[in-house]
């Protein structure tokens, strides 16, 4: 089993009632997703992304060719129990509440009641829907439904996560959170196959991508290889004096190369998150989803008491070496340690608030983008810095973890330890 997902000239032809007017939705597709990588399936609308996913999961039967998922048939319950799937829209039972929805899916996996309860709480907390957990899903906005859809896909702590347009309908914080989650899961040895046409999302998280058009793969490869401009170099520094800049310019001219010096712009994403952070600090109430950066304990923990969890959670992949993962982990580990562990209040909102103010009082290093500190790494370094900024702000928004008892505290330590190891 070399690949987590592998297709062999997979073809899907849609025909009309008479068997005419053939549409090649997917045409002779050979896809290889390695274990332990984040793979992005890109393409314009109607290029066959969703059809491919449906065939992988046995919702559609291929006209020709076949697909292997985790070394088996995607419709086999044994394989299914290791897959998490988020369809292109969150198709949920409107009459169930958020908590009941997750409970229903948990029961389909045959999770024991205790594990189910623990995971549901962790997931609700993670997707920020704890406050509306008992409201029928039918009353949710699209983004909120999307969050439940995501939680639903994670309830079994899957080895392979298949996400179809995961960020549609989500606010930027939710989008950021999904991206963080994907990275975090990948770091833990999970495989993620996501399909999207929002290129920014894909660029941030994917190791490898394939671009589909008309049901055919047109490009496939490492994101870095495809995007890196090998004839250019970028240097990002902290705020340095004009004389220093002149010196550097001189150096570069000696190399017989051109150079432009500007102050980098904040990404709109960063700016948005900052603004919402400010609003949340003013304790403005919202009936919508609360943004958190939490990731379900059971998804990030490695040693668990419950036997079923043991099986599900045990790291199945090799330690991850992809560069993307290295960006996130150290920061998250440190911030987790910094956040104060406060006694839990009765109301989740109050709790959140107290933590917000608590973390504000702490003399945490303010995440300001400065122009000094010379780094020599090319492309990733900037991303890494931005990553840290975003993380810090997000952490500030809500606090890294919501302590609910001794158990949680323990988990946090574990979590931090794991992240440090990785």
């Amino acid at each position: 089993m070399k690949y987590a997902v592998e297709t062999f000239s997979l073809t899907k032809i849609f025909s009309d009632w008479w068997g005419r007017a053939k549409v090649y939705a997917v045409d002779d597709l050979n896809l290889q997703v390695r274990y332990n990588e984040v793979f992005g399936l890109l393409g314009p609308n109607g290029s066959g992304k969703t059809t491919t996913l449906k065939m992988l999961l046995g919702l559609l039967y291929p006209t020709k060719g076949r697909a292997l998922v985790l070394g088996g048939d995607g419709a086999d319950p044994k394989i299914n129990s290791r897959i998490g799937f988020l369809p292109e829209e969150s198709y949920l039972y409107r009459y169930l509440s958020a908590r009941e929805t997750l409970d229903f899916y948990g029961r389909l996996f045959g999770l024991p009641a205790k594990v189910r309860k623990m995971r549901i709480e962790a997931l609700l907390d993670m997707v920020g829907l704890m406050a509306v957990a008992n409201r029928p899903v039918g009353t949710f906005s699209k983004g909120m439904a999307r969050r439940i859809g995501l939680a639903q896909a994670l309830i079994n702590d899957p080895d392979l996560l298949i996400l179809d347009e995961p960020t549609t309908g989500l606010d930027p914080i939710g989008t950021r959170q999904i991206k963080d989650l994907v990275l975090k899961l990948a770091e833990r040895g999970k495989t993620v196959l996501l399909c999207s046409h929002l290129l920014a999302d894909v660029e941030d998280v994917c190791d490898r991508i394939a671009i589909l058009y008309g049901g055919k793969i047109h490009t496939q490869g490492q994101v870095r290889d495809l995007l890196q401009q090998t004839n250019k170099r970028q240097i990002t520094t902290d705020a340095i004096s004009d004389t220093a800049i002149e010196k550097i310019k001189q150096l570069i001219r000696n190399e017989d190369a051109d150079c432009v010096v500007t102050s980098p712009m904040d990404k709109l994403e960063t700016f948005f998150i900052k603004t919402v952070a400010a609003a949340q600090q003013q304790a403005q109430t919202t009936s919508g989803a609360v943004s958190t950066t939490k990731i379900g304990d059971f998804l990030t923990r490695q040693t668990v008491a419950e036997d079923i969890l043991d099986k599900l959670v045990s790291p199945s992949g090799v330690p991850r070496t992809a560069p993307v993962s290295q960006e996130g982990s150290p920061e998250s580990a440190t911030t987790e340690k910094v956040v104060p562990v406060e006694s839990s209040g009765p109301q989740p909102d109050e709790q959140l608030l107290s933590k917000l103010t608590g973390s504000a009082e702490l003399s945490q290093p303010e995440p300001v983008v400065r122009d000094e500190k010379v780094t020599t790494q090319p492309v990733e370094s900037k991303a890494a810095l931005q990553e840290q900024v975003k993380k810090n702000i997000l952490d500030q928004l809500t606090g890294r973890s919501k302590p609910q008892g001794e158990d949680e505290e323990q988990t946090d330590k574990l979590q931090a330890g794991d992240a440090g190891d990785a």
Binding site: G58, L59, N80, S81, F85, Y91, Y93, R107, L108
Partner: protein, 451 residues
Amino acid sequence: MHSIWAIATNTIKQALRMKVAAVFLILLLVLLPVMGFSATGDGTLKGRLQTFVSYGLSLTSLLLCLLTIIISIYSVASDIEQKQIYTVITKPIRRFEFLLGKLLGVILLDVILLSLFAVIIYTITIYTPEFLNTTEAERIQANNEFFTARAALTVPAVDVSRDVEDTYKKLEISNELPDNISREEIIARLTMQKQLAKRAADVGQVLVWEFDNVEPLAQSMFIRFKYDVAVNPPDMQVYGRWFAGDYQYIKYGTESKTPIYDRIHKHSVRNFHEIAVPADVVPEHGHLAVAFLNAPLNNTVIFFPPDGIEVLYKADTFTGNFLRVVLLILFRLIFLACLGILASTFLSFPVAILLCLVLFSTACVSGFVIESFSFMSENISVIYSYTIKLVIQLLPKFDKFNPTKFLVPARLLSWSLLARCAAVMVCIKAFLLLLLALLIFSYREIAKIIV
């Protein structure tokens, strides 16, 4: 198993929260007690009880049938149309488990609702006599003719084929056969004539019927009959002298240890009547004879239609019979649930509903429809008997197993009849439907939109 149970409970929640079941529930909860007060029947206590049970059970049965059809179809078809099935079927659950879960949910809901309404109807029925000002006679009548489960003994048609053959031969020899009629038709006519003759009594003539294995539980038993007459009497009433007792006495005049019933009654013609006979006329060996003497006062031949004579006796309690009748309704619901599930595996919601309602109403009149084929001219009926008739025969006979048909005349629905019904309706027909549904569902493409 856990996933089947998860789907089943979800289906029940769906039915209750989508207010489909709630509407039916409230409707019945309001209507049943109202009917308990408003039903009067013919004014007697028995009539009142009969009317209530008849309408109450029919309404419950009908509404639950409709509910079962709607819910079983909706729960599968909406999952497919609204695509919740994408997230469900990609969990570790096999497709047949999904369908079985849906079926189990629908059946469980049916069991809960049916038991609820059965308890309500039963309670109202049992307590009606206590709340009403009734005479002692009315109560006794109700106890004898309603709060009981009476087994019915009927008389099989007499075999007259040899007689008919003889007559035919005689006619042939004497060359009196009509030319323009086929042999089969002549035989059929002769058979009818001969059988009628066996059921007819001229003035002063006696007809004797024998019944075996009569074991009445109560003090009295009943002879249920209907008179037909050749010439209408002036006041549409005829006199009949009825005997009942040991067959040896009635047939051969030997000594009888048990008493013999002997009384003259006056009854109107062309209506069913019952006469109560004390149960101690039944001899120990259970071989009872009933005889009818066309009293000389009458001026006409009296004959009994094919179903015109029965002996009824108490064989079980009302409660036992009621329980079995409720089970009969449950079998019907199980069949409809399987039918609905099958339809929803390859049809969209409205089309599946339409199909199931058509089949349901056909099954409700299947006996009538099948009978009507025999009156068609030969050429057409050949076509029908190989197409529609086959389909109808595959459907269960809801009219034959009509719950009110047993409770209103206090007929015994025996365990063996119930078991036969269960075997045919549930174990064979419903199971086949379910099997077909599982096959279709296992091989179809889930993500394909169905029309």
